[in-house]
């Protein structure tokens, strides 16, 4: 199943540290040779300050060789840097942790800075030390510490670039420490920062700020950071309990949908999977949390996108949706579902959701099947669902009992059939349906007209008032 593995595509969009879990996962599932994965891990670790880890990896790769001297050197250097940076940061930290200061700090960052400078002689350089130390901690794997420092830095800093950078850093740290709630917060904050940051046509101010990439088109850099955000957010969305519906909300919003279509169509797999997973199933329907209309219609929308991008990207999961909802070829859908099962099981993000995925996918299939057919052979349907007969029958009975199909569907056990009778909608009902919103709409219209004619009056009144006074 290596052909459907996305690690290679995704890794370029991830931070070095975020890649470790991915590689560890690859080592587990055995679709690539162990040596290759280890080599990759070692290469990766070499660039960080996690000296012990890389040394271990080296030993694992070359069991009979002695670890080269450079590890020792690196360790020395890292320790000394650590000390130096810690000292620098400690100055600031001492001040901040003072309860008086915490109280005196306000919303306005410039004012805070002035306050700190006046009372505690803290300048911007000192505050930047926080950033540097946080970054360094991150680089040797102390993620929770890094998150703390970066958080403090962000509260105080006024430098837009570094703030963004610290956002990214904190998000990565939170992801790596597994604090999904905070990571989600961080993600949303970062998303806002990115979205608000680029008023594309009025570039000069932005490009002036983007001192590191002055020549890059701001729209392009925004697209770039959105792409990264999309990839990083996968960690959060597939680990947070609410994640899937949030993922749908985010990725189906026009800006991010565009981002996915333009720069990373492979994310469609996760979009499709999330859409499938979040379809209500008999088992999940009980704990019904209110879901937004976007999530409800997610499958339909996702199908549209998949259809449109079919020339760019397809894998068993998207193909499954295509066959089911575009071609209505249930046999092909069944085949794709079989393939998709293994793909999901092997995917780093999706492996946890394999069962949910299967359940929901079956649900989708049976829903479509029942809507189109009048009489269904239970055995046939179980085949379509990739289930053995006995189990299939049970599953279907369950389905009929627990969902709204209950009223229409009857099981004929003698012939082993499901009979579905769907009485057509009466005409009068459709007429009512059509005219439903009209009264309100007209009312709104009337109000708007009234409002439109009002302003001249008020201005006149104001004028009169001014004249009187």
């Amino acid at each position: 199943m290596a052909e459907y593995d996305l690690s290679k595509t995704i890794i370029p969009y991830l931070d070095r540290h975020l890649t470790f879990p991915l590689l560890a996962h690859l080592a587990e599932i055995n679709i690539f040779s162990v040596e290759d994965v280890q080599a990759a891990q070692y290469e990766l670790a070499k660039g960080t300050n996690m000296v012990d880890y890389s040394e271990n990896l080296f030993k694992a790769m070359h069991p009979d060789e002695k670890a080269p001297q450079e590890f020792e050197d690196k360790r020395q250097k890292a320790v000394s840097t650590n000390e130096r940076l810690e000292q620098e940061a400690q100055v600031v930290l001492n001040v901040i942790e003072n309860p008086d200061v915490a109280q005196a700090l306000r919303q306005d960052k410039n004012q805070n800075l002035q306050y700190l400078k006046d009372n505690y002689n803290l300048t911007l350089e000192h505050i930047n030390a926080l950033y540097n130390f946080g970054k360094f901690q991150y680089s040797y794997g102390n993620y929770s510490g890094a998150a703390d420092y970066l958080y403090h830095f962000r509260v105080l800093s006024t430098d837009a670039d570094l703030t963004i950078s610290s956002h990214w850093g904190k998000l990565a740290s939170d992801i790596l420490t597994g604090k999904w709630d905070t990571a989600l917060e961080e993600l949303n904050a970062l998303r806002e920062a990115i979205d608000s940051r680029t008023p594309a046509p009025f570039a000069p101010t932005v490009s002036a700020l983007n001192s590191n990439t002055p020549t890059v088109d701001p729209a392009l850099s925004q697209l770039h950071s959105r792409t990264w955000l999309v990839h990083w957010s996968l960690f959060v969305y597939f680990n947070h309990p609410q994640g899937r519906s949030l993922l749908l909300e985010t990725f189906l919003s026009p800006t991010y949908l565009n981002t996915i279509q333009t720069s990373c169509p492979w994310i469609l797999r996760y979009l499709a999977a999330a859409a499938i997973i979040s379809t209500p199933t008999p088992s999940s329907a009980s704990g019904s949390t209110p879901v937004s209309s976007r999530v409800k219609n997610a499958v339909r929308e996702v199908v549209k996108v998949i259809q449109m991008e079919g020339y760019q990207y397809s894998d068993p999961i998207t193909q499954f949706l295509m066959q089911l909802h575009v071609e209505f070829d249930f046999e092909a859908a069944q085949k794709e579902l079989g393939k998709a099962e293994t793909v999901v099981a092997d995917d780093f993000f999706l492996q946890e959701f394999k069962d949910d995925f299967l359940e929901s996918a079956r649900c989708l299939v049976s829903e479509a099947y029942c809507r189109i057919h009048q009489r269904i052979d239970i055995g046939d349907l179980s085949d379509r669902l990739n289930l053995p007969r006995e189990e299939g029958e049970k599953w279907i009975v369950n389905l009929i009992r627990e969902t709204r199909m209950g009223q229409d569907a009857k099981i004929d056990l003698e012939k082993n059939l499901i009979q579905i009778s769907r009485p057509p909608q009466p005409i009068y009902q459709s007429v009512i349906e059509k005219t439903r919103g009209l009264a309100i709409r007209t009312q709104v219209l009337g109000a708007a007209v009234a409002k439109a004619s009002a302003p001249p009056l008020t201005t006149e009144a104001q004028a009169a008032a001014v004249a009187v006074s």
């Binding site: 020339y311 057919h373 769907r422 057509p424 709104v444 219209l445």
Partner: protein, 861 residues
Amino acid sequence: MSRFFRQAGDSDSDTESSEDELMSSGDEALPSKAAAAPKPAMSRFLRTAGSDSSESSSDEEESESDSDSEDEESDDEGRAGIRIMSAQEKRLAETEATAKAMDNALKINDWVAISNEFDKLTRMVQRQHNVSEPIPPIYVKTLVSLESSLTTTLAKEKEAKKKMNATNAKALTAMKQKVRKAMKEYEQDISKYQADPEAFEQDYISATSREQQPAAVSGGRVSAVQATLDETDGGFQSVGRGGRALQLTPEGIFKNLQAVQEARGKKNTDRAEQIRILERLLEIAVTSYQRIRVLLALVSSRFDYNSSVANYMPTELWLSAQREVDQLIAIVAADSSYIIQEITEDYDELLERTPSQEKDGIVRIRGSIISFIDRLDDEFTRSLQNIDPHGTEYVERLKDEKVLYCTICRAQAFYEKTKQDEPLSRVVMRRLEHIYSKPDPVVQALDSAADLSEIKPSMSLATKGSTSNLIHSLCVYLYKAGNSLLRTRAMLSHIYHYALHNDFHTARDMLLMSHLQESIHSADVATQILYNRTVVQLGLCAFRSGLIKEAQTTLQDIFTTQRVKELLAQGVHQQRFQVLTPEQEKAERQRQLPFHMHINTELLEAAFLVSSMLVEIPLLASIDSEESKRKAISKPFRRLLDFADRQVFTGPPESTRDHIMQASKALQDGEWEKCRDLIQSIKIWSLMPEAAAVKEMLAKRIQEQGLRTYLFTYAPHYSTLSLSLLASTFSLPLRSVTSIVSKMIWSEELPASLDQSGGVIVFHRIEVSRQQQLAQIIAEKVNAMAEQNEKALDTKMGGAGGWGDRADGKQGEKRGEQAQERRGRGERTRGNTRGGARGRGARFAQGLGNQMPGHTSQRTG
């Protein structure tokens, strides 16, 4: 030559003669060739033949102006065939003929004719005088006889003034003066002649024969050259007005150049003469500086040759201009110490300059190669516009594109070398325009020719591997170059190229991401045309790739305008109610694309109508009430179909349209095989690349849509329908039949469901009573009214949209779902309608953004 012309000339004999000269030089090329052809071996004669070319042309002129000189003309031709007469003899014959004509005119007292003839005679004699031949006695004789008859006529006229008309009288007086002048000039000769006519003639003959003798013995080279030096020189020598010979020497180049430049643009400057002078100057130019200067002047005077805008440059001139531009580039490219700039410091035009004299060792010369290239290209296009595209001449002319392309490439290489960005991007654009719409083999041929030249541009087919890569690199250069017009054009060309290579998705994404559809109506006309071409090509591309729906929506806009030809600049639209002013018409004509770039409109129409058929016919079948039938997706198609419906008798199909209409009828009746045969027998498909594959695709689509139509049409008559029967009727696999039917059920187009165990479709049709139907219609209408009201308020309140947003929240769920989509689209449509007056092409141009399939239009670039 009309009589009127002659009269005008008489009143101002000076301009007349100059105009004559001009025309004679215009005609010159042909007779001189004819003259040169028979005796190519003998250089001596060849030369003289060349030298008297102007005479033979004036011969022609004479035969034209003389009303009764048919025999002379034939005489002239005959002479061209057996040209063994020496130049002098010929001249003599001519002079005699003229004198005779004058005698004739004298007899009938036609002074206008006399005046003309006399002018000619004088000119001839003058020329002879220039080559230092003695004055022929016949001239003197004529002069004398003329004078006598003049005096008699004048005397006669005094008595009977009424007899003569005004023009004749005028000519007479003019003649009087001219004769008097001539008499004075040749006083000596005349007196000699009057004293002893015979002796004078004898004298002349001996003089000429003396000259002829060495000429005849052409083996005696030295003496021949010696004797004829003046003569031959005179042949080549440009004879300035008034018979002044120009002395061309390397030293005097700048002086001559300046003289030519001063004469440039003046009303009675002989342009051909100027070109000849410059050519001669080029031959004798020694230094690079001189050559550059002369070439600059020469090329621009070649472009000047045709003053009228409507006409195009003669091919020979164009070719030599092209060669000279090449030379120019070669000189400048080879020697980097010479730079041609549009703006330079002032320098003395008359001095020779060398790199060593200049401050930084670089000689800057005023001029502009890029404008030459532009002009060259424009002239090429213009000639193609004017030449009949169905003749061989057009093909011949088209072959010149290769050399032009080479020149452009050379210029590109030159500008790349000297790093001049602005002209470079213009040149790159020119190059792109030559290749973007051409299929691969043509581009290969063009580029391989360009590869042969000694200076090569960095981007070439050889280095880039494929045409697409070449075009990509050219376009990328232009995207980066920063000129927004060029960027737009490059973008469109790039998209066009992708569409041509059937890469629909890339082309579509590029078009949508460029957001051009929003701004194209403010672009210049040429760019709008390019945009239209691009969109049309995109539609064809979609059609070729089997994306019928996309093809239909893309092509629809241009067909609803019913001005396809005009919008693609492939023909002038005849307006019914409004007459174009000549200027407009001229502008329109200049915009037309040369024939070889045309997109075949018939093919285009076939593609559009067939895709409309495939979309529209099932739709038509699915609608059962009369009212909703009026909503047509494709109006042009519907109109044609209605027209075909009204036809009482339909014969076998002839035109493409007939084919498609009959096919549509067959499709409506469920006869998909007939429909397929009709569609496939359309001849125009042969023009489409991969015609066989396209036909196959169409057959498949017809099968599918036939099935859909059949189901829609005949569903009311069945309660169940076997799937396998359907499969065999439409020869489709059972699986795809099931798939199509399922799709229809799922999207609630067909009130039915499948019975899996029986393998049949079960229809659930509800009979709608009249009352119910009316209730439904009224509900729809009320809905439409509410929407209309909202829209009206929307436009009235302007773009603020404040109330609409609130309304969205309150309205039913269905609207909420669409809100996002609507907002995106609404913004743009609203903006467009407020756009106000737009150009003519723009109406088509602007519509597309909203109708393009898919919602990718909002992507961020």
